[in-house]
Symmetry: C2
DNA sequence: TATTTCCTAGAACGATAGTTCTACCAAGCC
DNA sequence: GGCTTGGTAGAACTATCGTTCTAGGAAATA
């Protein structure tokens, strides 16, 4: 409907799909809703994306890159690894308070399709692994004995905060999580 | 197909629906699959459940009760609250190592439907709140100053472990989580 | 024997949604 | 002018799926 007519059609499709998929779920959104929201013809969509599945993949892969880029932007190379890890919870806190927050797109996608649609599930797994690796890189800069273990525990706190913020509507979950993480970082052997 | 013919039809339907919904997702399972798995006729299903939505609700409500009953069975009234809370992670550890583990049914359901199908989303929210209240009750038996805050933080660790165990295939997530929780309990003001 | 209850088998309806097809328009370029 | 490119509009095909309908069987009860 009210899509920016300035962008080329393909970009408008991607933008519309992303918003709708995240807001209302992948299976809940039909092609019709997407072309309506993007303001393009049905033919145009199928010209750029041969099937809905391809568009969904594109949505997830794009979001993986963009989300992590945004997430990591809260860290700085010159800061201590403790400071950087704690900063991630500031990112979460900002996210949770956004009007558009509707949980983790990948947890939701995995919930929609499970192992059955293995493509989508695998992308979700990769996303989670990618975040893990990003955090692991932060820990590697420290003199922590077991960075893998620490990263796993940090990731547990991060994922838990996301779920709580969404399903328990606890928008301050990042604050409580940050406290726990601080405790973890200070008491780490 | 190979359903116990001993149980009455309604029970077989519930059992089949539960297994299929949890294993493959709610939207992924059609009525046909359920009646096939339960070994009942289509008419029989519609006799007991006027619509799929009703059956889904039944599935979720039943699972909420059963899951929490199982979860709480790891605690004992005579034990200290610290011991009881840590025992919850033993429960999670057992769960994660089950062959049938496929994450939290309610996180998955919420991911499938989002706020759109508000009934299902609300049941998922209630489930999460119920667990929170169960844990809060454990904390109330202690002399902790701020039991609500502690409970929130414990819940973050629990939810995080579940997500990690599922989406990162980290079956030992409960062990790392238990360590974090121990740290939290020992350093609590 | 008649009747009710519980169940089965399978066709059929109706809506939705992904996908394809036909027809057409406007702009830029050779 | 003719051709390609990129787009629109909308009908139509196809499959799936939730749901309803018809017909009938088997066992218990009156």
């Amino acid at each position: 409907m009210a899509a920016d007519k300035l962008l080329p059609a393909k970009e408008r499709i991607i933008k519309a799909a992303e918003r709708l998929f995240y807001d209302e779920g992948i299976q809940a959104i039909g092609i019709d809703r997407i072309i309506q929201e993007a303001g393009v013809a049905l033919n145009t969509l199928y010209k750029y994306f041969p099937s809905k599945a391809v568009l969904v993949e594109r949505y997830l892969r794009d979001r993986d890159v963009r989300w992590r880029k945004w997430f990591n932007s809260y860290t700085r190379p010159e800061a201590t690894f403790k400071h950087n890890i704690l900063s991630l919870f500031d990112a979460l806190n900002d996210w949770f308070h956004e009007e558009t927050f509707r949980g983790c797109a990948f947890i939701n996608a995995a919930g929609e399709f499970g192992d059955t649609k293995s493509d989508i599930f695998e992308i979700s797994r990769e996303h989670k692994k990618n975040i893990y690796l990003d955090v692991l890189k932060l820990c590697h800069d420290s003199n922590v004995i077991n960075p893998e273990k620490l990263t796993r525990q940090v990731m547990i706190i991060i994922e838990g905060a996301i779920v709580r913020a969404y399903l328990n509507d606890d928008k301050d979950a990042a604050l409580w999580a940050k406290e726990v993480c601080l405790l973890l970082l200070e008491n780490y052997d």
